[in-house]
């Protein structure tokens, strides 16, 4: 346990022999191969869940700011439901309970269920941010849009949302970073992502430190990349003459 042994990643996962190129061939895989594939699963779960969360979270956030009481209620109920149940419990609900209640879902791969679970959980949080962003514009912009003859959807599309999204880029950034971190719950339903890799690889190789350091590094790199990308976007869409791109 005294020295680090990074060669562990070059070992074949079946016979434990070190492969010179560190990448397996002919169907054999090394721990490095496994690590990279696990990273791929983490990124896939995160990216798809983020897509689901952005779409549904935006929709629900928007509904909560409409003048229609029924739609507001729907958005509020959605948000409270998915915000107030722990994420891990939601994942288990999707995995064990929902397919039992809705038989056609039994054939849906657990990858999809995890994407839905993580996506809906995060959609509640994004719904909060979108609602707050729209409401921070106060009533003046909405009235100005409507007064020009825009329909309500056009007012959202051309007037309210472009500014609201600019305002909420910072919280959306942390939500996107959270989703990478939260994707680790997928191990609970046996998705072969980074956390599951860490658990299994350290068991097989007894090289927990190297394994966890590598996994930690990849989580960090992924979240950091999102952070940078969002900063880039924030700068690209910054409105001239406005401090911080915010409202007024």
């Amino acid at each position: 346990m005294s020295t680090w042994d990074w060669q562990v990643f070059c070992k074949d996962t079946i016979d434990g022999k070190i492969v010179p190129s560190c990448f397996g061939s002919g169907g054999d895989i090394t721990y490095l191969d496994w690590l990279l594939s696990a990273w791929g699963w983490t990124l896939s779960v995160s990216a798809l869940a983020l897509l689901v969360a952005l779409l549904l979270g935006s929709l629900m956030g928007i509904l909560r700011t409409t003048p229609h009481r029924g739609l507001v209620l729907l958005g509020n109920a959605w948000t409270e439901l998915f915000r107030n149940i722990p994420l891990l419990v939601q994942i288990f609900l999707w995995y064990h309970v929902v397919p039992a209640l809705i038989p056609p879902l039994r054939s849906v791969p657990s990858f999809i269920l995890v994407v839905l679970g993580l996506g809906l959980f995060t959609s509640a949080r994004i719904s909060e941010q979108v609602r707050a962003g729209i409401q921070s514009l106060a009533g003046g912009q909405r009235m100005a849009g409507l007064a020009m003859g825009f329909t309500l959807p056009q007012t959202y599309r051309h007037v309210l949302l472009p500014m609201a999204y600019r305002i909420i880029i910072p919280p959306l950034t942390s939500e996107s970073m959270n989703i990478i971190k939260n994707s680790s719950v997928a191990f609970a339903v046996s998705i072969s992502e980074l956390t599951l890799f860490a658990l299994q690889a350290q068991e097989e190789t007894s090289r927990g430190i190297e394994v966890y350091l590598a996994v930690t590094g990849l989580y960090f790199v992924s979240a950091f990349a999102i952070n940078r990308a969002m900063l880039f976007v924030e700068n690209r869409v910054r409105v001239p003459g406005m401090i911080g791109g915010g409202g007024h």
Partner: protein
């Protein structure tokens, strides 16, 4: 047929009555000034005209179209009623040119070229041609309000509503906005203007409406209003704003 006709309009927020049996009309080409103390319901009244605020009783006709009728296509009606707000409400993420053309394109279906050309012509008219590529945040308040007027005009409105267009401006910028409005009035635009700028009222208004606590308590020809307002409240109000 008046351009704007209000008949016994009443509105409540919960149990609080903001508007009480308000009736007035604006003829085509007429300019009326609405004044009254803060909280008397002036903004609410003017927002009822283009249906931005719903009202529970009475009737408002704009160009013979009933605003309160659920069957009325409000976006279509609003597209023809220009509105200028106290806080300008330009769209901050768009350039001045885009601010002037977006509704022409999306609402009236004009081509981008046509809309841009019309927008730039109006921008020139309010003296801001050089600012076309800027964003609203880069303009002074007075300039923003002139753009807002040009934006409303870009839709070829049949009448214009102004809600305290100069009260958020630094004093030295008030006149540049009033000048544009005076010119508009002199060209025959039908205007309903909430303002305390009595100089403007004296110059171009045909009638002055005075509101207090949700009621229209004076509705007089300009000469009569400035000569001898009947109600004590109106007299007090006038002496206050004329001598402050």
């Amino acid at each position: 047929m008046p351009m704007i006709e209000m008949k016994n309009v009443s509105k409540w927020y919960g149990t609080f009555q903001v508007l009480a049996e308000c009736s007035t009309q604006v003829e085509k080409g007429e300019v009326i000034v609405v004044c009254g103390p803060s909280g008397s319901g002036k903004s609410t009244l003017i927002k009822c005209v283009n249906g931005l605020e719903p009202f529970q009783q009475g009737e408002i006709l704009v160009n013979d179209i009933s605003v309160g009728d659920p069957k009325t296509n409000l976006p279509k009606l609003r597209a023809r009623v220009g509105m200028v707000f106290q806080h300008f409400e330009l769209f901050p993420h768009m350039t001045i040119t885009e601010n002037l053309s977006i509704a022409q394109i999306k609402v009236l279906g004009r081509s981008r070229d046509e809309a841009t050309e019309r927008g730039l012509k109006l921008l020139e008219r309010v003296g801001l041609k050089e600012q076309a590529a800027k964003h609203p945040g880069q303009l002074s308040g007075g300039q923003q309000q002139r753009v807002a007027i040009a934006r409303a005009l870009s839709m070829d409105p049949i009448c214009m509503l102004f809600d305290e267009p100069t009260s958020a401006l630094d004093p030295e910028m008030i006149n540049e906005v009033l000048d544009v409005m005076v010119e508009l009035a002199q060209e025959g635009m039908t205007m309903m203007v909430v303002t305390h700028e009595m100089g403007f009222a004296r110059k171009v208004a045909h009638r002055v409406v005075f509101m207090d606590q949700g009621r229209i308590v004076e509705d007089d020809a300009k000469e009569a209003f400035f000569g001898s307002p009947r109600s004590e409240r109106a007299q007090q109000f006038l002496s206050k704003i004329l001598h402050h």
